[in-house]
């Protein structure tokens, strides 16, 4: 059975060109980048180049790029690092953030930082007017709002929010947005931004925190002066080099990828809409071109996803990180979706390797499975 992967928001395969860039750094340029010897300098040069490539993706100076072990670490460093360095009393984030933001609250509370959630509207976005009132009433010193949501793909107009802030540190988790829409750090008006390599056809285990250098951060990992003293540990040279190569490709191919993904999703959604009882989430607002989030009335998302796996299609019923939990999507609940409908949610996320034929086969299978489920439910 050939297997069709339609879960690009969970992780992407590494682009062959990215792998080609990484390979020499395993067995050939293997020096420790902290070493002043020739071999150390070769490794260092690989990191320097990658820093430029990642910087270019979001239009910042390379010195504003701090490499981490992934998006989760970057999100932790952004919030905890700033809260600890500056003794912040109040931080706030949108109600639909990734768990790597949401689950920092317990530790932050112990450190004396109050955490609160900014509500989202029924489209999954933080409303500008609401945000203004929120800033005035709660007075958070740091705010985190993601650029695009991992489940719904909904894109938040970050610049619209940052335009309202005064003396507030603004962080955005751009893990899902990077490589799918254009990101300009300055124009977005943010102070901190999280990126991940394995969502843009780079290797897992690498990410970056893009930072405004006027923001004080406290390292979460101590020991040695790596990454300007902000993140200790021997650098994952091959991984960083791969991330750099992936970032360069993402920038160069952005338009092509967008065009391709939009076309794929259009045929996907055209097909899905024909299924009785289907509900597409957040389709009326700007979304990432690759993400389709929907539910079919009466059919539990988890059950459908497992059935489709047996038929050779890899999709998910929630975000991969929490798909163990068995609870309906937090994002949908926070958007005010009924629990029964939220439980039907299925996410299909296409990528640059997806083919039109994959979509056609998927729709055919989904339609058939939905029919079978419905006939069981209706008892005929």
């Amino acid at each position: 059975m050939t297997y069709v992967y339609l879960d690009y928001n969970a992780s992407t395969p590494v682009d062959q060109r990215v792998l080609d860039a990484m390979l020499p750094f395993h067995c050939q340029f293997y020096g420790n980048p902290s070493s002043i010897s020739l071999m150390g300098r070769q490794a260092r040069a690989g990191i320097d180049q990658a820093r430029q490539q990642v910087a270019a993706l979001v239009s910042v100076h390379p010195s504003q790029v701090l490499f981490t072990s992934g998006g989760t670490e970057a999100n932790n460093l952004a919030i905890k690092g700033a809260a600890m360095a500056q003794g912040l009393k109040r931080v706030a984030w949108s109600a639909v953030e990734h768990p790597s933001i949401l689950r920092q609250s317990a530790m932050l509370s112990r450190l004396g930082t109050q955490c609160s959630e900014i509500p989202v509207d029924s489209t999954g976005r933080v409303n500008q007017g609401e945000f203004k009132r929120y800033l005035e009433s709660v007075k958070p010193q740091l705010v985190s709002v993601m650029t695009a949501n991992n489940e719904t793909g909904v894109i938040q107009d970050i610049a619209e929010l940052t335009a309202l802030k005064r003396d507030v540190i603004f962080h955005t988790d751009a893990v899902q947005a990077a490589g799918k829409i254009q990101l300009k750090f300055e124009a977005m008006g943010v102070d901190l931004m999280t990126l991940s390599s394995h969502k843009i056809y780079g290797p897992k285990g690498v990410g970056a925190l893009i930072f405004n250098k006027s923001i004080d951060l406290e390292p979460l990992i101590n020991g040695g002066g790596h990454e300007g003293g902000l993140r200790a540990g021997t650098e994952n040279v091959a991984g960083i080099v791969g991330f750099g190569a992936a970032a360069e490709l993402a920038k160069a191919e952005l338009q092509d990828r967008q065009d391709k993904l939009s076309a794929l999703r259009k045929s996907l959604e055209d097909g899905i809409k024909k299924i009785p009882g289907v509900h597409l989430f957040a389709q009326e607002v700007p979304r990432l071109a690759n993400t389709c989030y929907f539910g079919i009335e009466g059919i539990e998302g988890e059950a459908m996803v497992l059935r489709l796996d047996q038929q050779g299609f890899g999709i998910t019923s929630g975000s991969a990180c929490s798909s163990k939990s068995g609870k309906p999507s937090n994002t949908l609940l926070k958007m005010g979706v009924e629990e029964s409908l939220a439980a039907t949610a299925i996410r299909v996320s296409v990528g640059k390797e997806t083919k039109k034929q994959d979509i056609d086969e998927f729709i055919a299978e989904l339609t058939q499975q939905a029919g079978q489920f419905h006939s069981i439910i209706l008892g005929n």
């Binding site: 992780s11 293997y30 420790n32 070493s35």
Partner: protein, 406 residues
């Protein structure tokens, strides 16, 4: 056969990825391979990746005779050290706020302890003996009723000396103190049996034993159970102890590296020891050289020598055909003399003129012979240029000279 220059004698700084390891890693990256997110529970792409992670966890556990459930993946030994020490200190702080460690620990341990001091913990930094080893009675005397964590490295990164972890663990276990061991430099070089050692937490690195950089693990004992406060929050990976998408290829690489280490450690060590002894024999009759650290209780591949009357930096420059370290790689960009050698009681001058040779799996006899010849020649030349050497040869006692400012 012509030698490929530079000759790599810096295996304690990092190692090349073994080609067999690299070959395994590339099966978990691209589209036609197992690239899924191991946390994806809803499809075969995720399950296959998860299977690979499971196998690697077993391989790492096997090398140290642990249960796979005792292995927590991290981004490297530095993160493991941070998670172990901060995690245990935060979790057990109601029992006390005192930590004991040693001055010759890796920066990852020392800087973590400094951070905890800023948070209100009290840390005792023990002096090792001139051999680099701990005096156990002095160690025991440093323990207090409010001591909650002890951190002592297994093998020192600069001088390769092996601490008596078993004896230390027996002391800490009796007193109910959490014992953390940084084993980044010992895994694959010294046998580790967690069933036999009373170690509670142990940090490992992949890139010191022919695995990839950016990958590590923390051993967390289950019986008796050791608790930690997580430092990285998110999707709840690694039983909630360390969130973040698992880097399948990196984990597979670490697993394979540990498997190879288990299989080949004995033969590797024998060959490496032979090469190290050959290197030492080739250098030992040079006048005024000092071996740093105990030669008996030491890993097979490490030789750390101070060349008196030779300036460290010029020595490194002169030796550019061989990749070696002066001080540890992590601090070699700074010009401070090695704090490890200073802690052994070496003078600034001797610490400055030290070279760490570390031999590994791919070192050859020819490379060692070339190195011996090169060093002998360069030391002679550098000393010819040194007025201090001239004075020493004339019998002047340099320690008695009062240098005047001018």
């Amino acid at each position: 056969m012509t030698l490929k220059l530079p000759i790599y004698l810096d295996y304690s700084a990092t190692t090349p990825v073994d080609p067999r390891v690299a070959a395994k890693m590339v099966q978990y990256l691209t589209q036609d391979q197992t690239f899924g997110n191991p946390a994806s529970r809803s499809h075969a792409f995720g399950w296959e990746a998860d299977e690979a992670v499971k196998l690697a966890r077993q391989q790492v556990a096997d090398l140290i005779n642990a249960d796979p459930r005792e292995i927590v993946w991290t981004s490297g030994a530095t993160e493991s050290d941070n998670l172990a020490i901060k995690g245990a200190a935060h979790f057990y702080q109601k029992k006390g706020k005192h930590i004991v460690t040693v001055k010759t620990e890796h920066k990852a341990v020392l800087d973590t302890c400094r951070q905890l001091e800023r948070e209100g913990f009290e840390v005792t930094y023990l002096d090792p003996e001139p051999s680099g080893l701990l005096d156990l009675s002095k160690f025991e005397a440093a323990l207090r009723d409010d001591t909650i964590v002890v951190s002592v490295m297994h093998v020192n990164n600069e001088i390769g000396v092996i601490q008596d972890i078993k004896a230390i663990g027996d002391i800490t276990r009796k007193r109910g103190i959490i014992f953390h061991v940084d084993a980044a430099q010992s895994a694959g070089k010294v046998a580790i049996d967690t069933q036999d050692l009373n170690v509670d937490l142990m940090s490992f690195s992949a890139h010191k034993i022919y695995g990839p950089k950016g990958m590590g693990a923390l051993y967390v004992r289950r019986k008796p159970r050791v608790r930690l406060e997580a430092q990285m929050h998110g999707g709840g990976h690694e039983r909630g102890l360390r969130s973040g998408t698992l880097a399948t290829h990196q984990i597979v690489g670490m697993g394979e590296a540990f498997r190879l280490a288990k299989e080949e450690m004995a033969t590797d060590n024998e060959r490496i020891r032979m090469l190290r002894d050959r290197l030492y024999e080739g250098l030992q009759d040079i006048e005024e050289i000092y071996v740093n650290g105990d030669l008996e209780h030491r890993t097979a591949g490490n030789l750390n020598i101070s060349f008196n009357f030779v300036e460290g930096e010029s020595l490194i420059m002169a030796l550019k055909d061989i990749a070696v370290s002066s001080g540890s790689a992590c601090t070699s960009a700074s010009l401070e003399p090695s704090y490890v050698l200073r802690a052994l009681g070496r003078s600034d001058e001797l610490a400055h003129s030290s070279i760490r040779f570390t031999i590994g799996r791919f070192t050859t006899e020819e490379e060692i012979d070339y190195t011996i010849k090169l060093i002998r020649g360069k030391i002679d030349k550098l000393r010819e240029l040194s007025p201090l050497w001239e004075m020493y040869k004339e019998g002047v006692d340099l320690s008695k000279i009062q240098w005047a400012a001018h």
